[in-house]
């Protein structure tokens, strides 16, 4: 993990990021890819207050468990509002 990349779970609500990598089994990678979450894709965190997160990507809103959000590495795009 590079210096400017962080796990998705550290993005705050309203922040945007670009997916850098998904660290996980082939199953998780394929599953996320089919929903539009793969390296290079832009996403925005809508909800992140403990518990699962909600992110939007390409017009789709996806709820994602904390465990999985730790395995998605992103590059932060905007500072928190």
């Amino acid at each position: 993990m590079g210096r400017d990349t962080i796990p998705l779970i550290l993005l705050k609500e309203g922040e945007e990021g670009i997916i850098h990598a998904v660290l996980g089994g082939l199953g998780l990678i394929s599953r996320l890819a089919s929903m539009g979450m793969t390296s290079g894709m832009k996403l925005k965190v809508v909800r992140n207050i403990g518990g699962p997160l909600i992110v939007t990507t390409n017009g789709t809103r996806i709820a994602i468990g904390k465990g999985q959000a730790q395995k998605i590495v992103v590059r932060r795009l905007t500072a928190a509002k």
Binding site: L26, G27, L28, I29, S30, R31, L32, A33, S34, M35, G36, T38, S39, G40, M41, V46, R47, I49, G50, G51, P52, I54, N58, G59, T60, R61, I62, A63, I64, G65, G67, Q68
Partner: protein, 660 residues
């Protein structure tokens, strides 16, 4: 009916309106069953156009065609083995990128595809404009814009199906490539493997799947390919661990091309209704109280509207019984079987129909507008405590109506173990029938404390559900994290046709069970309680009850209560009828007589055990069917027996001690 001339498969990701399209096309001709040997629903139906019979098979909804879920495996095997004349891929116009990902997978299978671009109105509202002509040109497949919820575009879709299957139009689809930097590896792999790939499998598809690390294809090829060649394949894959990403990247490059050429967005960044609602509904502080409020509303609506109707049906059943009674003057057996067994047993079950109807209608409404996904989201954190995740919340909710559709509803859970655990816990959700028994007995025994007692019992029941889940998940799954990934669909106006179909399916599932298993069991129970001797005391059931009476002592049961509990296996409300018969009163008089024959402690123990005891036979049958093997089913059965007995004993002894 015309013969079947054309076989069409309907495919699409979840939340794209696939079932709406299916319902419009097939209407009442649809047939719902299971895919052979699988616990995945198979829906088929027919459509007749210009004298041609079109058979439509609804493939399970899936985001892609990997081998990681049963649904996806079924969909791709159907395409490979059945070779349908046309595949209609329903896409969501407001999320084209994602929908096209599945298209890329289907095109790899060289299947004749039509893209039905649904929800054009939603896309328009969100400021997304799609040039259908340009998209068609880029993809090389017919694209039909649709608004299925308003019945728009169906005719165009049907004529596209007809002309594609007749081969009238030229059909040269474009295809996604592997990312540039991995094309060499693809060629090398193809070089080694090509000669071993035989129809119906295609070279390009097989190699791509090998690069994706697809477990099924990899396993299949490893058995066919000689060891030295297979060793080379594995070495290549090890060197290029990112092959899967190269495949995915290739697909998204292709998708980006399509989007760039045909999709334009205006009104960017507008705040949608969904954003506003989710801002409140997915925040636990508001979301959970709102969820509780919504559920309270559902229950008060269900019972407010359903109970009067149930009572009406009940009195109708009673008059039917009284009317039939004299017809069997000469034959007490026939009378017993038909009046007591059939009408008294299965008939009583059917009186629950209005309650179930309103309940299922309310639930289907909440599902259809998109609320249930939010409920699952806010419940996720609590469900984790018991080793499940948010998605199990929906089947549990259904369980408050009837456990049968709840067990079947566990199919929405993709992971096998989490599905098993959900089914395992479902019987601990008190269904309408259990609630009816609890309310009646509590009212008879506890007088003005009845309401508090009933609430305490239901709350205790739910706590036990949580506790069992906690223990079971700790014992069975250890620390394993259950992945929770779920799309939250946009809120939309309810579609009556979709809601109607869902309610219809759940209700008919219930009626079928009541009409077959419960009828058989009710009659069997009546016979067991009348053979030999003609009365319950001298019958087989009475004999069983009397001979196991000693095990009833620690839980405060006499043999009559044991028999009533056993009768509840046919259907929970049977236990009331059994108590009525055993203590020599009609069902009407049970309120008067119960307090004199049943102590408070015994009654409490009876209710606790009834709630935790093995569910009705209809639920048991679907549990066995959905769990597949005997191992899970039997362990669940034994667990319920032990838990109910232990809890009953604890409650009884405690009640005696404090002198309730």
């Amino acid at each position: 009916m015309a013969g079947i001339d054309i076989l069409v498969a309907l495919a699409g990701q979840p939340n794209v309106g696939k079932s709406t399209v299916f319902n419009i096309l097939t209407g009442l001709s649809q047939h719902v069953g299971n895919w052979p040997g699988k616990t995945v629903e198979k829906k088929e139906g027919f459509y007749v156009s210009d004298g041609k019979g079109i058979k439509i098979v609804d493939l399970p909804g899936s985001y892609s065609l990997t081998a990681y879920s049963e649904e996806e495996r079924i969909a791709r095997n159907f395409i490979i083995n059945e070779r349908p004349d046309a595949i209609v891929l329903i896409a969501n116009a407001s999320a084209v990128e994602r929908s096209l990902y599945l298209l890329a997978e289907f095109l790899l299978l060289k299947a004749p595809i039509i893209v039905a671009l649904n929800m054009m109105d939603v896309a328009e509202q969100q400021g997304i404009r799609i040039d259908v002509g340009l998209l068609e040109k880029y993809l090389g497949v017919p694209v039909i814009p649709m608004v299925a919820s308003k019945n728009q575009g169906i005719k165009a879709l049907v004529s596209a199906i007809l002309s594609l299957s007749e081969g009238k139009k030229e059909y040269i689809p474009s295809m996604a490539d592997i990312a540039e930097d991995h094309k060499d590896i693809f060629m090398e792999l193809a070089d080694i493997l090509e000669r071993y790939i035989t129809p119906p499998y295609l070279t390009r598809w097989t190699i791509t799947k090998i690069m994706e690390g697809d477990p099924d294809v990899t396993e299949k090829m490893s058995r066919i390919v000689p060891p030295d060649s297979w060793g080379r394949v594995q070495a290549l894959l090890r060197q290029h661990e990112d092959s899967l990403l190269a495949v995915v990247r290739g697909r998204y490059d292709w998708i980006e091309g399509a989007v760039l050429s045909a999709v334009s967005e205006f009104k960017r960044g507008q705040i949608l209704l969904t954003d506003r609602l989710d801002h409140i509904l997915t925040r636990p502080v508001f979301g959970i109280p709102i969820l509780l409020g919504v559920l309270a509303l559902v229950f008060s609506l269900t019972y407010g509207l359903g109970l009067p109707l149930q009572q009406l049906l009940e009195s109708l059943m009673n008059s039917l019984a009284t009317w039939l009674d004299p017809l069997f003057g000469q034959s007490p057996w026939l009378r017993g079987i038909i009046v007591d067994g059939l009408i008294g047993g299965a008939g009583t079950v059917l009186t629950f129909l209005p309650v179930l109807f309103f309940f299922f209608a309310a639930m289907a409404f909440l599902e259809d507008v998109g609320y249930m996904a939010r409920a699952a989201f806010v419940m996720d954190r609590f469900m984790h405590v018991i080793g499940l995740h948010g998605k199990s919340f929906l089947p549990f909710c259904l369980g408050f109506g009837c456990n049968v559709p709840a067990v079947m509803g566990a199919r929405i859970l993709e992971s096998g173990r989490i599905r098993f655990l959900t089914i395992f816990l479902t019987p601990f959700v008190p269904c309408t029938a259990k609630l009816a028994v609890v309310t009646l007995i509590a009212a008879a025994i506890f007088g003005k404390n009845a309401l508090i007692m009933s609430w305490a019992l239901v709350a205790g029941n739910i706590l036990i559900l949580g506790f069992s889940g906690f223990i079971a998940s700790k014992l069975l799954f250890k620390k394993q994290d259950m992945p929770f990934i779920m799309e939250l669909p946009f809120y939309h106006t309810p579609n009556l046709r979709t809601i109607g179909t869902v309610v219809w399916r759940r209700i008919t599932a219930f009626i079928k069970k009541a009409g077959t298993i419960i009828v058989l069991f009710s009659v069997l129970l009546w016979m067991l309680s009348h053979i030999p001797g003609g009365n319950i005391e001298g019958s087989i059931l009475g004999f069983i009850g009397q001979s196991i009476e000693p095990i009833g002592r620690p839980i405060g049961f006499d043999w009559k209560m044991i028999v009533a509990l056993l009768a509840s296996i046919a259907a929970k409300e049977n236990s009331i009828a059994a108590l009525g018969v055993l203590y020599g009163v009609g069902e009407e008089g049970i309120r008067g007589i119960l307090p004199s024959v049943m102590s408070h402690a015994s009654a409490l123990s009876f209710l606790v055990i009834l709630m935790l005891f093995v569910p009705c036979v209809a639920t048991l049958v679907v549990m066995k069917q959905e769990m597949g093997g005997w191992r899970w089913f039997l362990s669940s059965f034994i667990f319920m027996l032990c838990l109910s007995y232990a809890s009953g004993m604890a409650v009884y002894q405690f009640a005696l001690m404090v002198g309730i």
